[in-house]
């Protein structure tokens, strides 16, 4: 039984209009398809098959890196890449065999590489990176037999001094899948070269520049006939470092066969003149795409050559830390210039016996002498009276337990033990004995050489720590200064002038008559402190921190030798050599 519809007439009218509109739109689509497929079909077919238009990406040259005097450290050189454009190949097996005879890669490997790649068939697939000149010539000569093979010149990163300052400079490599996702920026594509470590990573945005590209018309042999469109790549900006090439090289030679690091900086600006880390690696092997055997070797080396020890390594500071204990005790009024403490060689505290490194004892000592001779008993006594809470307050003032903010990625923060920290991490309460260990820089305390370096910087400037940094200037490819990095205060430590004076005196006496005598230089007033840190990894770590000249310091230095022995014996002479080099003192 059919009922009549109640749809109003005007709506039916409109529906008819809508049908007409739909018919018109569909007619336009049909006509366009007719035009595209039937009339222009042959032309498009030709374009697709002959592929007369080819898009090529032109990479931007990465910014160069200079030392503070403008000496070139890192640049780019042209490298020729042999690639195959899948869409232009007629017979892949034959081509692979022919190409194999020239470049020496097996035909199976070549054809497999091409087959495995299934993005854009007009995009060249890389077969051989950094091809040698004689092979390039042969490929050029036999071009008509090798249809589909293309040679592309790409800028390649070149670290002029190989393993020189490798941890600071870092290295570059192809962007990986995870990074592509993380950035989710259409500017990045697979195969792009980006900074992976060190300054290359930290300043990647500045160094990288912007890709360009061109669309060219090619004939059946793949020869370019005309450039249809060209977008010039924008080169990356250059970095001028605070590093002094010669001082850095000198330091690297001093640590040639050792494990450890040297930090040299200007305390009045935070500029780092040398940041030595040994053992090192050659970043050039990353630039060509590191082979898996090289990677295996570097990443499993027991000496951790890839680790930037001064920034990422954490170590017990040992006696160097007595400087912090002394400052805290002076500021809190626990000791003063006059207070003397008797060292018999050992001391019973909180039911435990603690010994001095000098078994026969130092006798009666003032704080200046206690610093100079690095007497443990004196500092145990101070530590016991200070207590852990007050200790923590002073450590924070130096920025211990925080990043120093150096312009390098992946900085470590170390471990600053406190009562809460121990309960959380060790699940034990804080014992008085822990404070006593801490007062000579042992126990749970772990610091990076850079954090240790900030201690000496604070004393050299009498209270101001400037943010440590490696880059002085950013300049554009045409030589204009884009940005100048100004000194910036990292921490202001508000210790009384008296305290600082006593500490400085102690550090000076350390060099003149104490544990640091091996760093004494006749022509230069050096102040410093040695440290010999026990650690679970074996032989003690050797430390030296210091500054010079005593009045109006120009530079601060930290020497750290991993399992290097005694601070006074091993680290102090290296500091002395560096200072002599910097102040140009010949002996």
């Amino acid at each position: 039984m059919r009922e009549s519809s109640t749809v109003p007439e005007d709506v039916k009218q409109r529906l008819n209009w809508l049908s007409i509109f739909i018919v018109i739109c569909f007619s336009v689509l049909v006509i366009s398809l007719w035009y595209l497929q039937m009339i222009k079909g042959e032309e498009f077919k030709e374009r697709a098959v002959e592929n007369c238009i080819r898009s090529l990406v032109e990479d931007a040259p990465r910014g160069r890196i200079y030392d503070h005097q403008g000496k070139l450290l890192v640049t780019n050189r042209p490298a020729v890449v042999v690639s195959i454009i899948p869409a232009e190949v007629d017979d892949l097996e034959k081509l692979s065999e022919k190409l194999s005879k020239i470049i020496g890669i097996s035909p199976e490997e070549i054809s497999q590489t091409v087959k495995n790649y299934r993005e854009n068939p007009f995009k060249p697939v890389k077969i051989l990176d950094d091809c040698k000149t004689n092979k390039i010539v042969e490929i050029e000569e036999r071009k008509d037999e090798l249809k589909g093979v293309v040679l592309e010149t790409k800028p390649r990163r070149d670290y002029l001094y190989h393993d020189f300052a490798a941890h600071s400079l870092g290295y570059v490599g192809e962007i990986d899948k995870e990074e592509l996702q993380r950035f989710s920026n259409p500017k990045f594509q697979g195969g792009d070269i980006i900074g992976k470590a060190g300054l290359e990573k930290y300043y990647d945005d500045i160094l990288r520049g912007e890709k360009g590209g061109k669309e060219v018309e090619v004939d059946a042999l793949g020869q370019e006939i005309a450039t249809l469109l060209y977008q010039r790549p924008i080169p990356g900006k250059d970095l001028v470092l605070t590093i002094d090439r010669d001082l850095q090289l000198y330091g690297e030679n001093l640590l040639y066969d050792k494990k450890g690091s040297i930090v040299v900086s200007d305390p009045n600006s935070g500029e780092i003149l040398a940041l030595v880390n040994r053992p090192s690696f050659n970043p050039n092997i990353f630039a060509n795409g590191i082979s898996s055997s090289d990677w295996q070797r570097l990443s499993t080396d027991a000496d951790y050559p890839l680790t930037n020890r001064s920034v990422q390594g954490v170590y017990p500071p040992g006696s160097i830390f007595k400087v912090v204990t002394a400052i805290a005790a002076l500021e809190e009024g626990i000791t003063d210039r006059k207070r003397k403490i008797y060292c018999s060689g050992s001391l019973e505290l909180a039911g435990q016996v603690f010994t001095c490194w000098k078994e026969t004892g130092h006798g009666s000592l003032s704080i200046v002498d206690a610093i100079a001779h690095s007497c443990n008993i004196y500092f145990y006594t101070l530590g016991k009276d200070l207590g852990i809470e007050r200790f923590n307050k002073y450590m924070q003032k130096f920025g211990l337990g925080e990043k120093t903010g150096i312009d390098l990625p992946a900085e470590a923060i170390g471990i600053i033990p406190s009562a809460q920290w121990k309960e959380r991490e060790v699940k034990e309460i804080w014992f008085p004995g822990d404070t006593i260990n801490l007062s000579i820089g042992q126990g749970y305390l772990l610091l990076t050489p850079l954090q240790v370096h900030n201690l000496i910087a604070a004393i050299a400037t009498e209270g101001e720590i400037y943010r440590l940094h490696l880059v002085k200037k950013i300049i554009s490819a045409d030589g204009k200064t884009v940005k100048e990095i100004k000194p910036e205060i990292y921490k202001k430590v508000d210790f009384s002038l008296d305290t600082i004076k006593i500490i400085k005196e102690g550090l000076r006496q350390t060099i003149l008559k104490g544990t640091g005598w091996r760093a004494n230089i006749k022509e230069l007033a050096v102040a410093g402190k040695t440290g010999t840190a026990q650690n679970p990894q074996g032989e003690t770590h050797a430390w030296f921190i210091g500054f010079a000249p005593y009045e109006n310091p120009e530079i601060c230095i930290t020497v750290f030798l991993e399992n290097g022995g005694e601070g006074g014996e091993a680290a102090a002479p290296i500091a002395r050599a560096m200072l002599e080099k910097y102040f140009n003192i010949k002996n």
Partner: protein, 368 residues
């Protein structure tokens, strides 16, 4: 029940149903061709086809369920549906999963779905109910603005994801439904002029990539390596298909994975290249059948509500078809709208079949 089934066999639009089933199989074949070699890390060449089939199956189940509900229930529930859609869209913006810089997805258990797809259906249902109840008052200009406000809220929420294409779909559904509902032409003309004059203002709200798409649409050769690339290559693919195409599974550009988004937004190019003019006309023919049946259902509906529901369904499918194919041929800007029943994507497939369910439902209830 017996009576219902009788009416089902008597009134069900089998022409429409067959066209839809046919086009779904057509879509799966083309999808298989374009994804069997895809570099997704999936070794199974049927990976995409299996997932899409599953969604289609789910869609047909929903379609069947919808047929059995009398659409007049909407008179009570249309507001609930509308506000449900609003809440889902707000959830997307605040908690949704982000891909390619846009939040469009909401996770339900192991499944991700796009509420903005289902909001299209919610909008059709809501507008059909609203317009059918208020038809006489729509001669009043201020009353006429109300549906714009309701739709505008949805558009705003989708625009914030940001998804330009989908907000255009909402707008198209609104305008076509208003037109069918018998709105005075001068109102629509006035709205059009007002919109035209506000383009410069709206321009400033567009994201850079959306501006780029519009600029590139006007001249794709500006950036053949980047955004314009898709359109140029899509045209080459369609054109090179010629009359009969290169044969299924043998499109030079599509088989070498050369066309970007070839199983989603640019699947029409694969048909063009592999099946040629014959294949594209066959597809257009099937769409024409579906739309023709849709209009017919709207004309023969029992009442205004049914008629408007059918018109909304037609508007939804029609806009997607024309914009997607126009985009593949480089005639319209690349707005990223998928092609009904063909583009890979679960939420879209399901919402397409729900819309067909609505059409069949209106057809089924045209008599008592």
């Amino acid at each position: 029940m017996k009576e219902r089934l009788d009416r089902l066999t008597e009134n069900l639009d089998f022409t429409l149903l067959f066209a839809v089933v046919f086009i779904c199989f057509y879509g799966l074949l083309v999808l298989y061709s374009s994804t069997r070699l895809a570099a997704t890390g999936e070794s199974d060449p049927y990976f995409f086809v299996k997932k899409q089939s599953l969604w289609a199956l789910l869609g047909f189940i929903l379609l069947t369920i919808i047929i059995f509900f009398d659409y007049h229930n909407l008179e009570r529930y249309s507001k609930v549906i509308y506000f449900g859609a609003i809440i889902l869209l707000i959830m997307v913006i605040s908690t949704g999963r982000t891909t390619y810089g846009a939040r469009r997805w909401l996770a339900i258990g192991p499944f991700d779905f796009q509420p903005s797809e289902f909001a299209k259906i919610a909008l059709i249902a809501f507008l059909a109910d609203f317009l059918s109840k208020n038809k006489p008052k729509l001669d009043n200009f201020f009353y006429y603005l109300l549906p714009f406000a309701y739709t505008g809220l949805l558009i705003l929420l989708v625009f914030m994801q940001p998804d330009l294409g989908t907000s255009l779909v909402y707008l198209a559904i609104l305008i076509i439904m208003l037109f069918v509902a018998g709105i005075k032409i001068k109102f629509l003309a006035f709205t059009f002029l007002a919109a035209l004059s506000s383009i410069p203002v709206l321009w400033t709200f567009l994201k850079d990539y959306q501006k780029n798409r519009l600029i590139l649409f006007l001249n794709p050769n500006l950036d053949p390596l980047g955004g314009g690339y898709n359109v140029i290559q899509s045209r080459i693919a369609i054109g090179s298909g010629g009359f009969l195409g290169n044969g299924i599974f043998s499109g030079l550009q599509s088989q070498l994975n050369f066309l970007p988004a070839q199983h989603t937004d640019f699947i029409f190019s694969v048909i063009g290249e592999e099946l040629g003019f014959v294949g594209t006309i066959l597809l257009l023919g099937l769409y024409a059948v579906i739309l023709w049946r849709g209009i017919k259902i709207a004309l023969e509906a029992r009442d205004l509500l049914g008629s408007l529901l059918a018109a909304g369904a037609v508007a939804f499918l029609f806009f997607h078809i024309v914009v997607n194919i126009g985009m593949a041929m480089g005639m319209l800007p690349a707005t990223g709208l998928p092609l009904p029943f063909l583009s890979y994507g679960g939420s879209f497939m399901i919402s397409n079949l729900i819309v067909i369910g609505i059409l069949l439902n209106v057809e089924l209830h045209k008599t008592n």
